[in-house]
């Protein structure tokens, strides 16, 4: 009985203990419970979203009387009103504002952070680590801390009520995470490549622009996607820095719509679902990048 040297599977019949070990290794017997738990949690996640989508097709009477069922009859006016009705301009305006702010902020964050990460990754100079630490600091404290002085600052430079007044701070707040993710990627590109490019007459910027950035495309995709999610959902900054409803972004619009039509729940749900669609579509397309970005950013420090 020299069982210690024999592979496990060879003698599963020998003792109950060995059988148990083999079962644990295969991981059978847990699958029903596993699926059960996961399905319940998934249902709890999806239920509120399903309620919102279906509720948008209901009358308010049905929403109050019989919310746990399919709409009967299906009402389409809640949704069509949001998109094409009398006040539809507001929804489209908010969508446009969100797009403008996201486009400006994300472009700036990624462009400026790439330049900075390039310097931190590939150049040696006095104070480099201290300066890099300065950016890391930005990750550690809540952005709410800066919000009141930011309000004063943006007012003083005349950007209050201007979409740019939101996009610029938004871009600034996105810098720390983006730099932290990009730096190791830039660092991993071999020095020999840079030397070869220089010998062939490439300037530093030429190397950065024509060789390094194309090579770092996966990392750039990741930070872009993360930056889009962050900017798109931002709430506090636009809440404070924008003043009229023609400047609102979608999150502000959703909140405001819900207070304005507080007695018309079906309509609020329809509006909210419409406002949700861009984020969900984006998630469907970029799920991989979002997940890999967050895990590389956080797990790997």
């Amino acid at each position: 009985m020299t069982t210690t040297t024999v592979p496990v599977r060879a003698d599963t019949k020998s003792s109950p203990k060995k059988r148990r070990t083999a079962r644990l290794l295969r991981g059978r017997g847990f699958d029903v419970a596993r699926y059960g738990v996961l399905t319940i949690v998934a249902a709890a996640i999806l239920a509120p979203i399903a309620y919102a989508v279906l509720g948008g097709f209901m009358t308010n009477g049905q929403l109050v009387g019989n919310p746990v069922s399919l709409p009967s009859p299906w009402i389409f006016t809640n949704y069509t009103d949001v998109l094409f009705g009398e006040n539809a301009g507001l929804f489209w305006r908010e969508l446009l504002n969100s797009l403008i702010i996201a486009a400006v902020a994300v472009t700036m964050t990624v462009a400026l952070a790439s330049l900075a990460a390039f310097v931190f990754a590939r150049m040696v100079f006095r104070g480099r680590e201290a300066m890099s630490m300065l950016f890391t600091l930005g990750l550690l404290f809540p952005s709410a801390v800066a919000i009141l002085p930011l309000y004063i600052l943006v007012r003083e430079v005349g950007l209050q009520g201007n979409l740019l007044g939101v996009a610029l701070p938004q871009a600034a707040f996105g810098l720390p995470l983006t730099i932290i993710i990009l730096r190791p990627f830039f660092k991993s590109i071999p020095v020999e490549l840079e030397d070869a490019a220089k010998i062939d007459g490439c300037t530093t910027f030429g190397f950065f622009w024509r060789i390094l950035l194309p090579l770092a495309r996966p990392a750039l995709a990741t930070v872009t996607v993360l930056s889009i999610v962050g900017t798109w959902n931002a709430f506090m900054l636009p809440l404070i820095l924008l003043n009229g409803q023609d400047q609102w972004t979608l999150p502000l619009g959703v909140m405001n719509f819900s207070t304005q039509y507080s007695s018309d729940a079906a309509r609020i749900l329809a509006f909210t679902v419409m406002a949700m669609i861009p984020a969900v579509l984006f998630y469907a397309v970029a799920e991989r990048q979002i997940v890999s970005g967050l895990t590389s950013g956080s797990v790997k420090g």
């Binding site: 290794l25 699958d31 330049l115 900075a116 300066m131 300065l134 309000y151 729940a265």
Partner: protein
């Protein structure tokens, strides 16, 4: 020269819109100021003593602490449990992961408004609770109107939105642990729980600590959901440091006092970050960067 040209834009933007405002907050906090007139009424630390003597603000601090404790005691273990369940190949795994993470990409405003409607008296939740025979447990003032319940309701919604994020982090951590180590323990006769407790959990330490830190910072700066759903009410029962700061500064025209609250919030975050750095993070970051470049 290149260094300056490349670094300056990022540094300028960052200094102007992130660091400078934080320093300004410390400056403003020493004045009684409505945000409009010249900054002349110096009051020293009066704003701070006022904050510490304010029941509304100290209450808000306790609410933040309460949410941090709940997050660590319930949300993180729950996320870890689900990550363990998903850390194995099986049919449908990708779908579950996709679903669990979905709420993370929805904005707080959307999340808040949907739950606001679900929680209204007589709406979806009440109907569901009544249907399973627990109608008697529905609070008379509503799930968000009950002073003792509102924070717990809020916590459930926070968990709905964020557990998927922590689960994904922890799952990535779990996947970085070679399966053979746990298998070796099982072969040596360890039970599944023992193997998890003594092998997997310690190896997951770095990821777990990052998750804990992010969870604490998140609970500390909670604003959006509260603002959309209750505005801090009923009667300040769901106010957080960030909502009291916002109300003081922008609704109450008390920029000086609001800035003092911001500085206190900053202190909390700083102490948290320093303690964290000292206790655990240094080791983790070193390990992670060497793993990265190696």
């Amino acid at each position: 020269m290149t260094i300056i040209l490349f670094l300056l834009p990022a540094l300028g933007l960052y200094l102007l819109f992130v660091l400078f405002p934080v320093i300004q907050a410390a400056h403003y906090s020493l004045f009684s100021w409505n945000g409009l007139q010249p900054l002349t009424d110096f009051v020293g630390i009066d704003n701070y003593t006022r904050a510490l003597n304010s029941d509304v603000f100290t209450g808000a601090v306790l609410h933040n602490v309460f949410l941090i404790v709940l997050s660590l005691a319930i949300q993180i273990p729950f996320s870890l449990f689900l990550a363990v369940l998903l850390n194995r190949r099986f049919r449908g795994r990708a779908v579950f992961r996709l679903v669990f993470f979905l709420p993370y990409v929805l904005s707080e405003a959307i999340t808040g408004v949907i739950f606001l409607l679900i929680l209204q008296p007589g709406a979806l939740l009440d109907t569901g609770v009544t249907a399973i025979g627990l109608g008697g447990s529905i609070p008379a003032d509503g799930w968000l109107g009950d002073m003792n319940l509102v924070l717990i309701t809020m916590f459930v919604i926070i968990s709905w939105k964020y557990f998927g994020f922590h689960m994904i982090l922890l799952l990535a951590g779990l996947q970085g642990i070679p399966r053979e180590i746990e298998e070796a323990a099982l072969i040596d006769g360890a039970g599944r729980w023992q193997a998890f407790r003594h092998i997997t959990l310690p190896l997951l330490g770095p990821t777990l600590r990052v998750s804990v830190f992010l969870s604490m910072i998140g609970a500390l700066q909670l604003f959006d959901l509260v603002w959309v759903m209750t505005g801090g009410g009923p009667v300040n029962a769901s106010d957080t440091m960030a909502t009291t700061m916002f109300k003081a500064g922008l609704k109450g025209q008390e920029m000086g006092y609001g800035s003092a609250l911001a500085v206190i919030l900053f202190m909390f975050a700083l102490v948290l970050a320093l303690a964290y750095q000292r206790l655990v993070l240094r080791r983790d970051i070193e390990g992670a960067t060497t793993a990265f470049s190696g």
